[in-house]
């Protein structure tokens, strides 16, 4: 890296007219997710002669170790794909984007405004979301028909969902051979907001812990009961040991699956008929979905900040968003206020994904969120998921500790 930047500096000094710029760009992804990234880089380089994009790709598992080490050394890629944005912003690794956005008239208003919130810290925006990890309800039509159940539709609420899940679950000799539904472990907060509850008073600047209030407790218990009373949903641990939402739905071990658009690719290979419905409403008719997905940030140590911003504004602009939205593994666009981006999102059941994206609601994203989740909230919820303790007791036992940790921030 040092040599490349030294070389490009020398070249820039020697030939001021044909200035040669290199912008390094890091992202993760499975092979199936890479084509849109590669296309973006190729098209940007073609449109900007003299600019080279130095691509640093790594699979998810190795990405963070390398990125953290590079950033710790004061180096790292100029533009990088990132999650947990406030944690990186608070530690000074990301450059604020607001000044760049204003100076270049970037169409930030075409972004889903709620989807921008998890990418901000202390009133400034630090990254631009590539997509929104919108959840939908995938269901196995054959399983519903065989059980003579009516298919999920947009009028469903929790009761219909848990009744159907119970009816679809098959067990013999104390062992379940098919669950009614499988869900993603990190999305329990969606149920909380569907029931009118929340984790904190404010997801970005929290001062009070609200997960111990009745609406939230009820939602957590609803999930726990599906796992331990109805036995219609595997615990998150069992689901992950059984291959998660991908394997369990595909192999027929679960008749419904609540997950995001990333599963479209693998579910296309299913040997049964399936379809997609919106998430059910909460008992009071509230709709809610997740907000946020990974975004693109600017290294605060970027060598050529303007060049880096120019590339970032391209991949996060209408053209870049359209490329991601139209990829074979489509991403639900976060810039859904732009007609071109919206029309290029041509995934199956696109209208369900787009309407559900509008229900996105931020529950928590701030620098200490990872710590609080791992130290207190996750261990308490573990006890509800495995049926050892009820939700009120489990969450009640950590409320004081979380409050104390919030006060310390």
């Amino acid at each position: 890296m040092k040599i490349i930047s030294l070389a490009s500096t020398l070249v820039a000094l020697a030939t001021p007219i044909m200035a040669d710029t290199t912008v390094s760009f890091a992202y993760w992804g499975d092979p199936a997710e890479l084509p849109p990234f590669e296309r973006l880089v190729a098209e940007y380089e073609a449109a900007n002669p003299g600019v080279t994009i130095d691509v640093q790709h790594a699979p998810w598992s190795g990405y963070w170790t390398r990125l953290d080490a590079q950033l710790a050394a004061g180096a790292g890629p100029d533009v990088f794909f990132v999650t947990n944005v406030p944690s990186y912003a608070a530690r000074g690794a990301l450059a604020p984007l607001d000044a760049h956005i204003n100076a270049s008239n970037f169409p930030i208003n075409e972004y889903n405004q709620e989807a921008l919130r998890p990418h901000s810290y202390d009133g400034q925006l630090y990254s631009l979301p590539r997509d929104n990890a919108t959840l939908v309800l995938y269901y196995n039509k054959d399983a519903f028909d065989a059980a003579n159940l009516s298919h999920p539709n947009d009028s469903w609420s929790w009761d219909e969902l848990s009744d159907a899940a119970k009816a679809l679950a098959v067990s013999s000799g104390g062992r379940t051979s098919r669950y009614g539904i499988v869900t993603e472990s990190n999305n329990w907060d969606v149920w909380v907001s569907q029931n009118g509850g929340s984790i904190f008073d404010d997801g970005i600047n929290p001062t009070t812990f609200k997960l111990d209030e009745p609406a939230a407790i009820e939602a957590i218990q609803y999930i726990g009961d599906m796992m331990n009373v109805d036995r219609s949903m595997p615990s998150y641990l069992e689901a992950s040991q059984s291959g998660g939402t991908t394997q369990m739905f595909l192999s027929g071990q679960a008749a419904m699956s609540i997950t995001n658009a990333a599963r479209l690719g693998s579910y296309a290979k299913a040997d049964f008929d399936w379809a997609i419905a919106p998430l059910p409403k909460g008992p009071q008719g509230l709709r809610s979905n997740v907000v946020g997905g990974a975004g693109f940030g600017l290294n605060s140590n970027a060598k050529d900040m303007d060049a880096a911003w120019d590339f970032l504004s391209y991949i996060s602009g209408a053209e870049g968003q359209a490329i991601f939205a139209s990829a074979a593994a489509p991403a639900v666009p976060a810039m859904n206020g732009n007609p071109m981006v919206q029309s290029s999102f041509s995934a199956p059941f696109a209208e369900v994904f787009l309407s559900e994206t509008d229900n996105g609601k931020l529950t928590a994203q701030f620098p200490k969120w990872v710590d609080l989740q791992n130290l207190y909230i996750q261990p308490a919820l573990d006890l509800v998921w495995n049926g050892e303790v009820d939700a009120a007791t489990a969450i009640g036992s950590i409320a004081d500790q979380v409050e104390a940790a919030l006060a310390q921030q």
Binding site: L71, R91, G92, Q241, L375, D382
Partner: protein, 297 residues
């Protein structure tokens, strides 16, 4: 330095030259990081911004951290359960396979295989075996009539025993190989003399085998304890310290604080505690060894 010179004489230059590759690797990847961690433990450091000196703050915080208390307790339980089990079973296997039974090469390989199997792969397979719904273990338990099968990795009661079982399974073979080597170093004339005195099998085991094996036992004890304190991969793959921190152990907690919460100072302080505990235990073992370890052959 004097001692080194006495050993190598005027060849010290050549000696250092040949030691260089190992010395450089040790210095760069072990010595410097250990010394650095010692200093980092007196700072707050989030990896990106420069560290700030906070004196003993991290250590006092550790004292009042209820999760660290639980982690210490879990680690103690893990060490106290795995060390005697893997040593006892390893010794039994070694004694059984030292008698020239048929197929002993096969059994030696079979017992040693887990020790050379990738921990990650083994932990994954064991997770499936322990799966409370589809797993083979619970299928077997319900077949022999156990009604209330444990939830293993999902249960606060059974997750730690499950991790202990896998750890013992993995380490028995290593202890066995060391014990086997030790057994084969015991002079045959001792047993011949005992046979002349009509000593029983038990008394030969008690008065010859175990005392003569004690240097090996001592070595296995020291490395088993150190290895047990450092358990990480099994926890990482099988339980991620859950449920409810029931399997959170020292090295996993160090990893969490360092690389999930970016509290390098706090993680380093916990690492120093681990270092101190292991050092202390090892020193106690060395100073008490002359009461039971016999080096005469």
């Amino acid at each position: 330095m004097k001692k080194i010179r006495r050993i190598f004489g005027k060849d010290i230059g050549a000696a250092l030259f040949f030691l260089m590759p190992a010395l450089i690797l040790f210095t760069v990847f072990t010595a410097i990081p250990v010394v650095a961690a010692f200093f980092i433990s007196f700072t707050h450091w989030d990896l990106f911004r420069p560290p700030t000196w906070v004196g003993l703050d991290n250590y006092t915080r550790l004292l009042h951290d209820p999760i660290f208390g639980k982690v210490m307790k879990n680690t103690a339980i893990f060490v106290l359960a795995t060390v005697p089990l893997q040593m006892g079973l390893g010794l039994l296997a070694a004694l059984a396979l030292n008698r020239g039974i048929r197929g002993q090469t096969f059994f030696r390989v079979a017992y040693f295989l887990p020790a050379v199997t990738s921990t990650i792969a083994a932990a994954l397979v064991w997770s499936w075996l322990f799966n409370s719904n589809y797993g083979l273990i619970n299928a077997g338990l319900s077949m022999i009539g156990v009604d209330n099968v444990p939830k293993w990795l999902a249960s606060t009661k059974w997750a730690m025993p499950a991790v202990i079982i896998v750890s013992v399974w993995q380490n028995v073979g290593y202890a066995m190989v060391l014990f086997l080597a030790g057994l084969q170093n015991i002079r045959a004339d001792l047993y011949d003399a005992a046979a002349l005195d009509n000593a029983s099998g038990w008394s030969r085991l008690w008065h010859i085998t175990l005392p003569m094996l004690s240097p090996t036992t001592f070595f296995v004890l020291v490395i088993s304890i150190i290895g047990s304190f450092q358990v990480f991969e099994l926890v990482f793959i099988m339980t991620e310290a859950g449920p409810a921190n029931a399997t959170n152990t020292l090295v996993y907690y160090i990893y969490q604080n360092g690389f999930q919460f970016y509290q390098m100072g706090y993680a380093s302080a916990a690492a120093m505690i681990l270092f101190a505990i292991v050092l202390l235990i090892t020193m106690v073992q060395y100073t008490t060894q002359n009461r039971w370890v016999h080096y005469d052959t």
